[in-house]
């Protein structure tokens, strides 16, 4: 019995060594390139530094105090929220609708699926440029279409009330393909006989959507909610190309502000403060989403 346990221990030890050997290279890279900068970023947020000078000036929590009491940052926080909520709701509702359509046995749906997914793999900067042309109030496609129905084009680039919707529309368009494909995969994994059982039970198409499709999609929906939220907060390239955060900071999000503070104004301490706050905000949001949604998610 004693020797058996010792053999067991030896086995466990060998297994563990093997596990470590496989995991170590990856873990090392992660530590070096993800966790070290993360920790360093937090560390930097306690200093005032201009990216060049050899002296780092310790300022403690001053950066946080300054940032959190500045009304400009409140406005930017609000922008971030509007952008995220807008893009997440936009791409999830449109994505579900399109996925439901593409799940029907219609001719040519493979082609449509490919067309929808293409923007997701194109660079955001390129897409931003294309949308600049579309939104142009004088020469743009959208202005021409609006003129057809007798409406004037909003001044997307100069009107602070229209700039944010513009960026949201462009961003949703780019990311729609991802959401559609994931929803579609979820839809196709729902067993067909559940729908047949529901039909026999007397459920119409609306009721089948509500009582079969949506609950069966709940794990996929939670996944998309989390990933879409995370990526929307990190949006940068399209904002950079389309509005540079303007007009009057109307499209400036925290991530964009971080870039400006760090690499335009060389306020590395402030940039690190924003990065740290953004990280905490995302962590809290994700945990909240997981906690509140988990109860309503059905994993079969």
């Amino acid at each position: 019995m004693n020797s058996a346990r010792r053999t067991g221990d030896r086995h466990a030890l060998r297994d563990y060594a093997l596990f470590a050997a496989f995991v170590a290279p990856n873990l090392l890279l992660l530590l070096l390139f993800v966790y070290r900068p993360l920790v360093q970023g937090v560390w930097l947020s306690f200093f005032s530094w201009d990216l060049i000078s050899p002296d780092w000036e310790w300022v403690g929590l001053d950066n946080y105090r300054e940032y959190l009491t500045d009304s400009a940052s409140h406005y930017i926080l609000r922008n971030t929220l509007i952008f995220s909520v807008g893009t997440v709701i936009g791409s999830m509702s449109l994505g579900l609708g399109l996925a439901l359509l593409l799940n029907l046995p219609l001719r040519g749906r493979e082609v449509v699926r490919t067309i929808l997914f293409t923007p997701y793999v194109i660079s955001g900067a390129a897409i931003g440029v294309v949308w600049l042309f579309i939104f142009d109030p004088r020469l743009g496609l959208l202005a021409a279409l609006l003129a057809k129905v007798g409406l004037p084009s909003p001044d997307w680039f100069n009107d602070p009330n229209w700039a944010m919707p513009m960026v949201i529309i462009a961003y949703v368009w780019k990311n729609l393909g991802y959401t559609v494909v994931v929803f579609l995969a979820g839809l196709q994994s729902i067993p067909g006989d559940l729908y047949e059982a529901a039909r026999v039970d007397g459920a119409g198409s609306w009721s089948r959507l509500r009582h079969v499709t949506l609950p069966m999609l709940s794990p996929v929906t939670l996944f998309l909610l989390v990933t879409n939220t995370l990526s929307s907060v990190q949006a940068f390239d399209m904002i950079r190309v389309m509005t540079q955060g303007g007009p009057l900071e109307a499209t400036k999000t925290m991530n964009y502000q971080l870039y400006e503070e760090g690499f335009v104004r060389f306020h590395v301490g402030t940039a690190s403060t924003i990065a740290t706050l953004l990280f905490l905000l995302l962590l809290a949001t994700t945990l909240l989403q997981l906690r509140t949604m988990e109860r309503r998610v059905h994993y079969s």
Binding site: L194, E196, A197, A198, D201, G202, P215, M216, S218
Partner: protein, 361 residues
């Protein structure tokens, strides 16, 4: 109220596949009809057409004397038990049972009462709060049954509901479904590929092969008077022994002759004037051990013994005959593998089929 169901010249094709061919059949009110046949014979398609889950290519289906072609499943007053059970995984057992009633806007107190009644009938009372994934296979099967019962439909449709259960549970549930049907007095159409299930459960059995209805009859009549070679070999286990040979004149009467055998045939077994190639069939229980020099005996060599306790199945290789001849003998019979024995058929129990069409003569 149990309803009658009738098929009138029903056809169903999927592209080039003719799944159901010209099916005409009446199912009476309160009857337990079993649709049986090998896989791909069209039995499930026929059932799904009654449910309204599959459109007819031609012909019509009536439920309670009303043509239901093109009607949605919910407007047919039927309930179906699926092979996979198709329980809603995100709903509790209670909600699974109540779903159909809620869709039909049944008042809440009645839902409570009917779900409770059904749960009591099936022994599901303690499981009502559970999700399907927390149930065993047998319990899920009960919930699937309950979901059908709770609505009190006029016709129950069951698509191989026992095929996912282990042998022991299948045997028990078989009896329970039959008892339940007697209690509820509902019309049941039951699809299975298992001929034992068909024999033990159905008040009548419809045998399908390649989309064509072969015979509809009571289990005993089907067994005693199979309409053709297919039914003769499909129903009954081990299958009927078949011998290819010829009908020849023998003095006053007729005789059957094949390689190594010659039997006089009872008058009336062969229609007047029919001579030529036929297939003669005997069920395993209609063969008995006889002396090797018996002129009516079929001689052969024992290749396999299958003692079941109650019976002994003996497989015998007979010269000039393909496959083994199987006899059901008393368990105390003493034979050895490799021994040469002779089997004598009970000529009054002979089945005779035309060699070309396979139809009973």
């Amino acid at each position: 109220m149990p309803a009658s169901v009738s098929f009138e010249h029903v056809n169903k094709t999927f592209g080039d596949v003719h799944a159901v061919r010209d099916l005409t059949m009446e199912i009476d009110e309160g009857e337990f009809l079993v649709l049986v046949g090998p896989s791909g014979c069209g039995k499930t398609t026929a059932l799904r057409m009654v449910a309204g889950l599959e459109d007819l290519t031609s012909g019509s289906i009536r439920i309670a004397d009303e043509v239901v072609n093109g009607r949605e499943p919910r407007d047919r007053d039927i309930a179906m038990v699926f092979q996979s059970y198709a329980l809603y995984p995100h709903m509790s057992v209670f909600d699974n049972l109540a779903f159909g009633l809620r869709q039909r806007k049944t008042p809440d107190d009645e839902i409570q009462r009917r779900v409770a009644d059904t749960a009591a009938m099936l022994g599901l009372e303690d499981l009502l709060a559970r999700k399907p994934r927390q149930l065993s296979g047998g319990q899920r099967q009960r919930v699937a049954l309950g979901r059908a019962i709770v609505r009190r439909p006029n016709v129950f449709l069951m698509d191989e509901p026992l095929s996912n259960l282990d042998a022991h549970l299948r045997l028990r549930t078989r009896g329970e479904i039959v008892t339940l049907q007697r209690q509820l007095q509902t019309t049941v159409i039951y699809v299975t590929h298992d001929q034992v299930e068909a024999m033990t459960m159905g008040t009548r059995i419809a045998v399908l092969n390649q989309g064509v209805l072969q015979q509809v009859d009571t289990p005993q009549h089907l067994y005693d008077h199979p309409a053709n070679v297919f039914v003769a070999t499909f129903i009954g286990s081990p299958a009927m022994n078949l011998f290819s040979g010829e009908v020849t004149a023998a003095g006053e009467g007729l005789a059957f002759s094949a390689t190594g055998m010659r039997f006089p045939l009872a008058p009336g077994l062969v229609p007047v004037g029919h001579t030529g190639a036929v297939i003669l069939g005997f069920r395993p229980e209609h063969l008995r051990l006889t002396a090797t020099d018996d002129p009516l005996g079929v001689p052969g060599e024992v290749t396999l013994l299958e003692p079941l306790g109650s019976d002994l199945f003996v497989s015998v290789r007979v010269a000039g005959h393909e496959g083994a001849v199987v006899a059901r003998l008393a368990p105390e019979t003493v034979v050895r593998v490799g021994e040469r024995i002779a089997l004598a058929p009970d000529l009054s129990k002979a089945h005779l089929f035309a060699a070309d069409t396979g139809a009973r003569l």
